[in-house]
Symmetry: C2
Subunit: 552 residues, 2 copies
């Protein structure tokens, strides 16, 4: 790197905090096992699939003697899926643990995600290389990727690499899918009599890898704080200029945890929650009307401005849009060659009129043309509608503008409406990790080493009690099978770790719901500002509202 | 405010730094005057327009006796134009100065910009009110607005308010236009024998209110740091995911200082500078080709990702686009009723084909339809094309994608191209001011009081030597007429403060130009991270690269 920023240089000096138990010499810490566990559902099927790794006990590190820790080992690490702040610190904690065990032990990084394991594409990590990435954001140290290890050939290649590299363990840093993959890989190695153990680490800014055992996935804290900084700045701008409504889309395709957390941090006028939209079967028209109601009400108070948060995946949770997308995917796939010949939007529109069901065409034709075109233009390599490319924030702004125009003509709206749209996602995935994420990730990595040194496989690195200061945190391992069930994926039943959606009877949503009517009408903005790394503890070390509400 | 963030509470405790000379008791500081000044151009005309205020000397505060400072006074303050971080601290410095002079003195804030003065809409500022806004972003304390005081009626109303309020002075916080307005108001008050003095303060995130006398306008530092945080995060994401080109538009309609400063802070692959595009008469095609060249070159190195910065005003600096916009404005205004009847894009397109010159229609028809529609749809109340609503970032991404498709067909491009677009503006205008802006603004406000207490009018509050620590800063006043010349505005010649554009032979641009060929091809990103308020001085107190290059 040609030119390091002052912050990056300063962050190199930061010493991430470990749970107290891990501050002992590593050979003075042992795993204490609890009772055998069961999967959350489909126990019999999972037991059959994970013959060697199913039902292991939860485990917690406590003081005790573990001389095995000092053995020389060789470990590989993989960053999988989308970036999340703190990934480099997982590697740092793992590296420092390995070296604390035995200076001659080795850590290699597989490059660009799971494909690095399949292709034996790797880099050996040494002090100098590691030090350049401590406490930094991004996954650029070794790259990431979305390849899934699925086919027999991929499993065979993975085993071949592990054997060639003489790996004692592989650590996979990823979300629900990647950790499911970790469980399958652990099982495969054991079933084939290989020594390589597999440990997972819970990563995702989306916050949907969370359950009884996992208090939060790393990166959620930093990403939400970065988005909240920007939302707060925009709220302050809205409240100063007093003339714009800002429609802000936030990452979170399956779950709305990010939008909800940002709403708790910034108190916007409106925050849509996909899970609620689905549960209440809200139509696009209803959502539009609700927003227009709030705008009209604020206009009566001469407040022609506001801020609305929208989760990225929203359109997939609106029943008629979900049907439309499914039908578009089917029809466009079935008639790919024919459809791809159509050049203009008018031609495509005519084709859809003839080929979609009446109700889906009605939904489609009610969309603003610019947005409707996005459903057809930006398809993925399988020909499917790319939901992440649909500008839901513009869709809603346009629908609301239309609705307000009608109301104005009917004398039911007296304000001025002008909007701006934003999408925040890439802005937060690679921020410098907050102190919380820096500490949490380092602890996860260090714990992963301790699990390896304790001889277990198919476990998730687990650090808990996270609402307390780091010295009060606990460290241990969760058997990955414990968090799994069977789900339909692309037509076949597969073992997966359950995604955690926003629970409408959970404390974070209830806290939001108890305030939102007030926030909607009365300007109640909170301005979190930029993430701070060096200031007073109440500014620098507090984690998310979500975890506080859930765990305190 | 219902719920203050931890950062906001912590920032209340920050004591902004003043230049050493202003740390004396206010009655122990006097203005030392230099020689009479001249305007930068059109001296005779300006002397005629500013009979009472033209040609005053520059002035600097030094130690000395000034018992006048203790007089009880009544002052009004106005925030004018777009928000910039630090506006509240200008008010805080002014307030604290006034109260240090005489506890019985009063500061009132005119609400929502200059219209508050015209309409005598105001709020009296007391300790409690002031304390709620110290070191915070935004202009929400008293609001802002874009009304210009232009007509004889507006001047009369302003004088009536000043008289009714018994104002000794008005402080106008604004950009080039607002400070021109301050100069005219100062002249008007004097010419009419009124006692009210007028002092300006240099505000604008755009950085274009800058000259021999003004080292920088406030807000530029914080806004650029906020945008650079986001750009750095996106660069890190691009370098981790290795599959997207990010096209990022940044505020800066007339001048490209923001884009240039952000480029110096983050070292992106490409940063367009409007002033260079204009000077070199670059066409859209040329710009597209240049970007495509860089993308193709990086693809050869298997780096199918990158970051491109684009100043908001770019399209107005591309010669054929500038002509197109001018022609569209003319034609649509001349035929407003007829044009407004056209409903579909196809109808409008046909009309333009018949009514535009051939060259302008050629330019128009080469635009992607979605962008072309923005030229026609989002017009301002005068029917003009709203340049700030044109998604230049999407325009360039689409043109580049087309060009790369052609090159691929011709075997001249071997990469994969996928893009995301962003626009950063509202995200940075209301951030918590950096320590630099907090100190600078507080000093500007305090200096404004000292100028008032020294009896001058038509001056700009001036704090200089800004690349040094605050105790080395100087404070004084610049006669506003000194920075003015005459320019054509809407068909008539008017006195205005010259806007500072990016100088292609200035040090900041030359620094950028000396590195950009390397940055274009070789990934050289720098990650500034979030603004820090509490950490080591090299992280928290450094100001912009632009001012360092210009003044050190």
């Amino acid at each position: 790197m040609a030119n390091l920023s002052a912050l990056q240089i300063a962050r190199y000096e930061y010493n991430p905090k470990l749970p107290s138990v891990l501050r002992n010499n590593p050979d003075e810490v042992v795993l204490e096992f609890g009772k055998a566990t069961e999967a959350v559902a489909d126990q019999a099927e999972l037991k059959e699939l994970f013959k060697n790794t199913y039902g292991k006990p939860e485990a917690l590190f406590v003081k005790g003697k573990n001389p095995d820790v000092k053995k020389e080992i060789r470990v590989g690490v993989i960053l999988s899926g989308g970036q999340a702040p703190g990934g480099h610190n997982v590697i740092a904690g793992l590296y420092d643990g390995i070296k604390a065990g035995n200076k001659k032990s080795t850590l290699i990084g597989f490059k660009n995600g799971p494909s690095g394991l399949i292709e034996n594409d790797f880099v050996e990590i040494d002090d100098k290389f590691m030090d350049a990435y401590r406490n930094t954001g991004g996954f650029d140290m070794i790259g990431s990727g979305r390849t899934k290890i699925e086919t027999p050939e991929q499993y065979a290649a993975s085993m071949a690499t592990a054997e060639k590299q003489n790996l004692d363990a592989i650590v996979i840093v990823g979300g629900d899918d990647s950790n499911t993959n970790a469980a399958l890989l652990a099982e495969t190695f054991l079933a084939n009599g290989k020594k390589t153990r597999v440990i997972g680490c819970p990563k995702t800014i989306d916050g949907d890898l969370k359950n009884e055992q996992i208090e939060t996935s790393f990166g959620f804290d930093t990403a939400c704080k970065t988005y909240s900084e920007l939302i707060g700045n925009i709220e302050r701008d809205a409240n100063s200029a007093k003339k714009y409504w800002h429609f802000i889309k936030l990452m979170g395709r399956s779950a709305s945890h990010i939008a909800l957390e940002c709403a708790l941090q910034t108190q916007p006028n409106i925050c849509l929650i996909s899970e609620e939209v689905e549960a209440k079967k809200m139509t696009l028209k209803q959502i539009t009307n609700d927003i227009a109601d709030a705008i009209a009400k604020r206009a009566e108070n001469k407040e022609n401005f506001g801020v609305i948060l929208i989760p990225e995946g929203l359109v997939e949770f609106i029943p008629e849009m979900k049907s439309l997308i499914a039908e578009l995917n089917d029809k466009m796939a079935q008639n790919e060659a024919e459809f791809n010949k159509l050049e203009t939007f008018a031609d495509k529109n005519a084709w859809l009129k003839a080929n979609l069901t009446a109700s889906s065409y009605e939904t489609f034709s009610a969309l603003p043309e610019g947005i409707a075109a996005q459903f057809l233009a930006d398809r993925d390599p399988h020909g499917n509608v790319q939901v992440s490319r649909i500008e839901t924030e513009k869709l809603l702004a346009t629908m609301v503008e239309r609705e307000l125009k009608v109301r104005k003509e009917n004398g039911k709206y007296c304000g001025k409406f002008s909007s701006y749209t934003h999408f925040f996602g890439y802005e937060g995935r690679c921020a410098f990790p907050s102190n919380f994420d820096a500490d949490y990730c380092y602890s996860l990595g260090y714990t992963a080493f301790m699990l390896i040194a304790s001889g277990v496989t198919g476990y998730l690195s687990s650090v808990r009690n996270l609402t307390k200061p780091a010295d009060k945190w606990t460290a241990g391992g969760i058997p990955l099978t414990m968090m799994m069930n069977m789900e339909q994926r692309h037509g076949t039943k597969k073992p997966v770790i359950r995604k955690a959606l926003v629970e409408l009877d959970g404390k974070p949503f209830k806290e939001f719901a108890s305030h939102r009517d007030e926030w909607k009408i009365k300007t109640s903005y909170t301005f979190p500002g930029a993430i701070q790394y060096f200031g007073p503890s109440e500014v620098c070390d507090q984690t998310t509202k979500t975890i506080k509400l859930e765990r305190e």
